[in-house]
């Protein structure tokens, strides 16, 4: 296990290298000279030069890349063009809201998705099964920004149960979390249903039933455990997908998280913040994938990593 973990971390190095190269290329592909932007509109050529040498922009690209990676390691991405505050602080203040929103949404998606999927598999080809199938197909096809605005219209404008946006108590969290969770819940439900149905058709399930194991025990001990293994991978993938979806949902609900910050930063051409965010998003994505693979071993003793 430890050996496997070590190998996985080792394998991440070239990917991290590529990601850092991508982020670095991103800074240099941006139209316009950052030094000129920083120096301001009335700056003389000397002023721009001074900013360039202060930022190290006059050095060879390779040296700049080395500095970039070194600074990235300690979380130093310079200062935000927009507020002048260190990028690290700007990103840190927006990290928690995103974490709060996405973790709640994942939890919601897992509970609702698996619950509905299990119910569908047990009550296969009944009216509730059909309704859930229609709902989950619709859930996947509805854009989150549309669903979010619909929820705002119904629950904030019409009956005023929940606020239209912003961050505050639990009441602020309800609508954005539902919006963000909906598509993932739909995917998880569909997948849980088919995975459980497949297991329920296996020989060992029939054997368990034949030897008189109670219905409940067959479902919980024999079937669910096997059926949920592939679902775990899916949940991991959905978590990554959710991080992307949060960009849209946070904008709809003015939720001050990383996604909202990303869109704001694009509007202000705040490239240091953008670069840090792209790196951060990718790291989260990689970390989630790793955690999913590890969980896999915990759930399925047959999977042994050497």
């Amino acid at each position: 296990m430890i050996k496997y973990l070590g190998r996985r971390l080792w394998q991440m190095i070239p990917i991290l290298f590529g990601v850092s190269l991508g982020a670095f290329a991103f800074i240099h592909a941006i139209p316009g000279d950052p030094a000129r932007l920083l120096a301001g509109p009335d700056a003389t050529i000397e002023d721009v030069r001074a900013v360039q040498s202060r930022l190290g922009l006059d050095r060879p690209l390779i040296i700049q890349y080395v500095y970039f990676v070194r600074n990235a390691f300690v979380g130093d991405f310079g200062r935000s063009y927009r507020s002048g505050a260190p990028v690290r602080e700007v990103v840190a203040t927006h990290f928690l809201p995103t974490a709060e929103l996405s973790v709640t949404a994942v939890g919601l998606a897992v509970v609702v998705g698996m619950g509905v999927g299990i119910l569908q598999a047990i009550r296969r080809n009944t009216v509730p099964d059909y309704i859930s199938t229609v709902l989950s197909v619709t859930g996947v096809s509805t854009p989150s920004f549309f669903l979010g605005l619909l929820l705002i219209y119904v629950f904030s404008v019409d009956v005023r149960w929940f606020p239209t946006g912003g961050m505050g108590g639990v009441r602020h969290l309800v609508l954005p979390a539902i919006t963000l969770a909906a598509a993932s819940a739909a995917v998880i439900a569909r997948f849980t249903r088919s995975s459980l149905l497949e297991v329920l058709g296996e020989d060992f399930v029939r054997t368990a039933r034949a030897k008189g194991v109670s219905k409940r025990r067959v479902l919980v001990r024999h079937s669910l455990r096997n059926a949920l293994i592939p679902v775990v991978t899916l949940v991991g993938l959905e978590f990554g997908f959710l991080l992307g979806g949060a960009i849209v949902v946070e904008t709809v609900f003015s939720w001050p998280g990383l996604g909202w910050l990303l869109i704001q930063s694009i509007g202000f051409r705040d490239y240091p913040v953008l670069t840090a965010e792209i790196l951060l998003f990718s790291l989260q994505f990689l970390a989630i994938n790793l955690i999913v693979d590890i969980l896999y071993t915990a759930l399925d003793p047959r999977v042994v990593y050497a």
Partner: protein, 292 residues
């Protein structure tokens, strides 16, 4: 070389394509998806000829009208007929989705076939690059590309198309790699077929089923992503009647005229639903093993 044909007795009674077609028709949801898609595509082609009003025509005496006989989907804040704008918008919203996936499929398939054919270091490096591209959530990659290129229709197509490239490359590479070991590829080489001919005549066709399945399934996601980018103000800009952009400008009026949000939202959902159902149907018909 002439195409060889089997004598009738040896030919299977029902061809595989016939069987796939029958499997497709048996699924009602797949047929429904096909019909929805066909309607949207027809509207896209007919576009401006079937709008009840000129899509850009403003009528300041009839702003923010609820749906009525004269305006089935109501009017917006400039008094423009929403249905007419939706119809014309099909061209932008579906067009961007279709364009993006076509672009991604073309580049990805060529890349994947190249990996299988040349192998070695090219294949290795390519697949590592694909790994790195997989390390970014799709919409983030698209937003990063837009941040560099700037907003606009062409850039949205490029950005959305770009992140399906690695998947298409992988899907193409697998079957093509298996085909490389087949005798008919060696035979083709022996009779002097060039690299391009082997790659595109002999290797690519074996990868077509997964490419077709992923292509249809991908269009829904591409339409959603393109609309999301426009909604965020990073894609097509108003007053172009793109659905995502229409929704974004309509949200200001959500408490007085919800149809400004509902109409484009329903259009997006329905179009995506159609492509998703169609894609599921094609997947089951072409390759029942892929079914989840």
């Amino acid at each position: 070389m002439r195409e060889a044909t089997l004598p009738a007795a040896v030919r299977p009674a029902v061809s595989t394509s016939h069987r796939s077609w029958a499997r497709f028709l048996r699924r009602r949801t797949a047929v429904a998806g096909g019909i929805i898609t066909a309607v949207f595509l027809s509207v896209m082609v007919l576009g401006i000829w079937i709008t009840p009003y000129p899509p850009g025509a403003t009528d300041y005496n009839a702003t923010l009208q609820p749906p009525s006989a004269a305006h089935p989907a109501g009017t917006d804040d400039f008094g423009r007929d929403i249905l007419s704008r939706l119809i014309v918008g099909t061209r932008y919203s579906l067009g961007m989705g279709l364009g993006a996936v076509t672009l991604g499929a073309a580049i990805g398939a060529a890349w994947g076939v190249g990996c299988a054919f040349y192998g070695g270091a090219f294949d290795n490096i390519s697949m590592r690059i694909a790994d790195i591209l997989f390390a970014f959530p799709g919409i983030l990659l698209a937003i990063a590309i837009i941040a560099i290129l700037g907003p606009g229709l062409t850039n949205v197509v490029l950005a959305v198309g770009f992140f399906s490239v690695p998947t298409f490359a992988r899907l193409t590479r697998g079957p093509a790699l298996a085909a490389m070991a087949q005798e008919y590829v060696q035979a083709a080489r022996a009779i002097g077929a060039g690299s391009t001919r082997i790659m595109f005549r002999h290797l690519l066709p074996t990868s077509l089923p997964p490419i077709i399945v992923y292509f249809t399934l991908r269009i829904g996601t591409a339409i959603l992503t393109a609309a999301a980018l426009s909604f965020l103000g990073l894609g097509v800009q108003p007053p172009t009647p793109e659905w995502g952009a229409m929704l974004a400008s309509g949200r200001l009026f959500i408490n007085v005229s919800p149809q400004l949000v509902v109409a484009p939202g329903v259009a997006i959902s329905l179009a995506v639903l159609g492509f998703n159902l169609l894609g599921d149907g094609i997947r089951d018909a072409l390759d029942p093993r892929l079914r989840t």
